[in-house]
């Protein structure tokens, strides 16, 4: 099986990691003030997806959009 080629650069991954952690913390800390379960879940999905992309270094949207932020390539 072909593993997807890494298409997220280091800077990209740091930004994504930061964003994901910030969003998860926001949802956890301000759970009450957001007040809408639908939005809370959406933010969590968004954050977790970014977290996965950060970990494996591959973003499906980048793949579709033919973007690569790796410097070496």
């Amino acid at each position: 099986m072909n593993l997807p080629k890494i298409n997220c650069g280091n800077v990209d991954r740091v930004v994504r990691a930061f964003l994901s952690v910030a969003l998860i913390m926001y949802v956890v800390l301000f759970w009450e003030s957001i007040g809408d379960i639908f939005l809370q879940i959406l933010i969590l999905i968004f954050a977790i997806m970014n977290l996965i992309s950060t970990t494996i270094g591959w973003c499906p949207v980048y793949q579709l959009a033919n973007i690569n932020t790796c410097k070496t390539d």
């Binding site: 957001i34 007040g35 933010i43 968004f46 949207v61 579709l64 959009a65 033919n66 973007i67």
Partner: protein
């Protein structure tokens, strides 16, 4: 170098699409947030206003009850303050003012607070109304109610909370939604812009490919070649080393007999042939050379790094490969190729120069049936005029530079002119009158062959009409090329002209040269009956020179057979020629065809021909091809031609 690099791709499109989509997402988010915010606020305010109105109404009914319970008839502010109903009012009610009889009681409000204009107006006129008012720090609702029975009126001021709540909601939920929407929009924009630019790039590449390639053979085309050559010349220039250190050869390949296949077998067969040839050529040329379809049946090979000797070897290979029979539609074709070679830098250092010289060499190769020819300065003078004439052909035809001269055909031994043969001459503005030998080959190889023959035919018919107008009924023979028989418009055109000029068809004679191939014979076999149906006379020209003379006699139903001049020249000295003529005459008599002897130049030849039984002759002895104005007097007076023939008759009689 791929053709894609010839046309630069545009990366700005993607950026524009991306910015456009993100901008749109931001705009939509802003509109969405502001509308949702106002909606939340308006909804809250309406509900709050209704609440405060009902509170004011309650107070109006409660206050008189409080006052009636008290001992004094007048209201006391302290008493009101202590009452249950005022205690239960929440802290959002920031001001209560009551007017009852002469009393004005202010509760929960700073005494120095001044009314804004709309409240003052309502109080002054004593009208029930409500609305918003505000200071810099806070926004307030007010409502003014009057009890008409007791005359009690109440003004309530209430803090607006909805605004803050709405803001809070917006800050939380809407901004989160907007954030998520924005990201989704960015994703969508990225993907869509990628897809669109990908599609765009694909069509762009396709267009670039189409612009640089020939549709039929898939080979690169002339535009591509020019780019490649320009790149080569630029590279040489950029390197700055002496020109002799560089080499390259340009081979211009022109297929022989391609037109025949195309005309006889149809364009599809022609296309198949071109594709097969292209495949062969690309195999021979190899990967290092650029093979280009230059147009029609012309190909070009540009090979960097080969000199003239290697180019000659390559040309030899190509010529041999092209001579291998090709199988198309179950028919075998043997076509040939003529190749002109020009080498860089000795034959030219510019694209035009190389092409011109390769062209000259190619024409020389074609004319001399050499297969291939390397350009040589000596060719310049010889073949350059050929190339020049080819270029002037179209213009000459449009400007009617071609004229017809007529050579008489006489009967033996009477010597009367029984017909004429129309022969084309090119009145060239610089070179003077050119004989057909100079230009017929060029015409036959060009695209104007059909147009040219129609022009000649029309002029001959017109001349026939002019003679008819003068009372001379004379047959005019017109030479047609085997190519013309494949022109489907030829017979309709002939018919039309004959009708238009009211010329009896039997006065026109179509001469087909015998030197054509068997392929020509097949076409002639098909077309001749149609020509016969028109009513014109038919003859075989240059009889005896081709490979299939007897087949012509057998298969074609013609009126005349014209014996080639090569048999006549030595008829008086060579007994073999005499024997051939004798046999031909006998053969033709047996198949019931008349014989015309061509190229009779001396009295002796005429005499001999007559003695052998030939009844018709043509040649310089009887008259050269001449302009109609010189010929017409001979037709009316029958002077010079007759004199010669009388001589023959005299000799014979004596």
């Amino acid at each position: 170098m791929g053709p894609q690099t010839l046309i630069k791709s545009d990366t700005r499109l993607r950026r524009r699409l991306l910015f456009g989509s993100v901008g749109l997402a931001v705009a939509v988010s802003v509109i969405f947030i502001s509308v949702a915010y106002k909606l939340a606020r308006d909804l809250g305010e309406t509900i709050e206003l209704e609440n405060i109105n009902s509170l004011a109404t309650q107070l109006i009914y409660q206050i008189p009850l409080i006052s009636s319970q008290s001992t004094k008839s007048l209201l006391q502010s302290e008493q009101l303050q202590k009452s249950h109903i005022f205690q239960s009012l929440d802290s959002e009610v920031v001001g209560i003012e009551i007017w009852f009889v002469e009393q004005h009681i202010k509760l929960r409000r700073h005494p120095e607070w001044t009314y804004p204009a709309d409240i003052s107006l309502a109080l002054g006129k004593g009208i029930e109304s409500s609305g918003f008012t505000g200071t810099d720090k806070e926004r307030l609702f007010w409502t003014y109610k009057i009890d008409t029975v007791t005359g009690l009126s109440v003004l309530l001021l209430h803090k607006v909370n909805t605004l803050n709540i709405a803001l809070e909601y917006v800050a939380n939920r809407l901004s989160i939604t907007a954030f998520l929407t924005f990201w989704l929009a960015v994703w969508a924009a990225l993907v869509m812009s990628a897809l669109i630019t990908k599609r765009f790039e694909q069509s762009n590449q396709k267009l670039a490919y189409m612009a640089c390639h020939d549709d039929l053979t898939g080979l690169p085309n002339r535009y591509f070649l020019v780019t490649v050559l320009n790149d080569f010349l630029n590279k040489v220039e950029a390197e700055g080393s002496p020109l002799k250190h560089h080499k390259g050869s340009l081979l211009l390949i022109d297929l022989d007999k391609f037109k025949e296949v195309n005309d006889t077998m149809g364009h599809t067969a022609g296309d198949d042939l071109l594709t097969s040839i292209a495949r062969r050529l690309s195999e021979i040329a190899g990967d290092k050379a650029h093979l280009i379809r230059y147009g029609g049946d012309e190909f070009v090979i540009w090979h960097e790094n080969i000199d003239s000797e290697e180019a000659k070897n390559l040309a030899q290979d190509i010529v041999s490969a092209c001579r291998q029979p090709l199988l198309i539609n179950d028919n075998q074709f043997e076509i040939g190729a003529s190749i002109g070679i020009a080498c860089y830098p000795q034959h030219g250092t510019k694209i035009d120069e190389l092409f011109k010289r390769a062209d000259i060499a190619m024409y020389h190769a074609k004319k001399m049936r050499l297969g291939y020819q390397l350009f040589d300065q000596s060719l310049n003078s010889m073949s350059a005029s050929w190339v020049a004439l080819r270029g002037q052909l179209n213009g000459a035809l449009k400007q009617n530079q071609f004229v017809l001269h007529y050579q008489p055909k006489v009967s033996l031994p009477e010597g009367t002119i029984v017909g004429v043969e129309a022969l084309a001459r090119w009145e060239h503005p610089e070179k003077g009158l050119l004989a057909p030998g100079v230009f017929i080959d060029i015409i036959e190889q060009s695209a104007v062959i059909h147009e040219f023959t129609r022009y000649v035919l029309k002029q001959a018919i017109i001349q026939c009409r002019l003679w008819l107008n003068e009372g001379i009924s004379l047959s005019v023979a017109v030479n047609v090329s085997p190519y013309n028989l494949r022109d489907e418009q030829f017979i309709p055109f002939l018919n039309e002209q004959l009708r238009f000029y009211r010329v009896p068809p039997e006065l026109i004679e179509i001469e087909l040269t015998e030197s054509g191939t068997m392929l020509d014979l097949n076409v002639a076999e098909r077309v001749f009956p149609e020509l016969r149906a028109v009513g014109v006379k038919l003859s075989i020209d240059d009889f005896g020179t081709g490979m299939s003379s007897l087949a012509y006699v057998k298969k074609l139903d013609v009126n005349y057979i014209k014996i080639d001049r090569s048999f006549i020249t030595n008829i008086t000295t060579d007994y073999r020629d005499e024997a051939v003529i004798k046999s031909m005459l006998m053969l033709c008599a047996n198949v019931n065809k008349e014989v015309i002897a061509e190229g009779v130049e001396t009295f002796e030849q005429a005499e001999k021909l007559h003695a052998l039984g030939c009844k018709l002759a043509q040649g310089y002895y009887f008259g050269k091809p001449m302009e109609p104005m010189l010929l017409t007097p001979l037709l009316t007076k029958n002077t010079s031609v007759l004199a010669k023939v009388t001589q023959i008759r005299g000799t014979i009689i004596n």
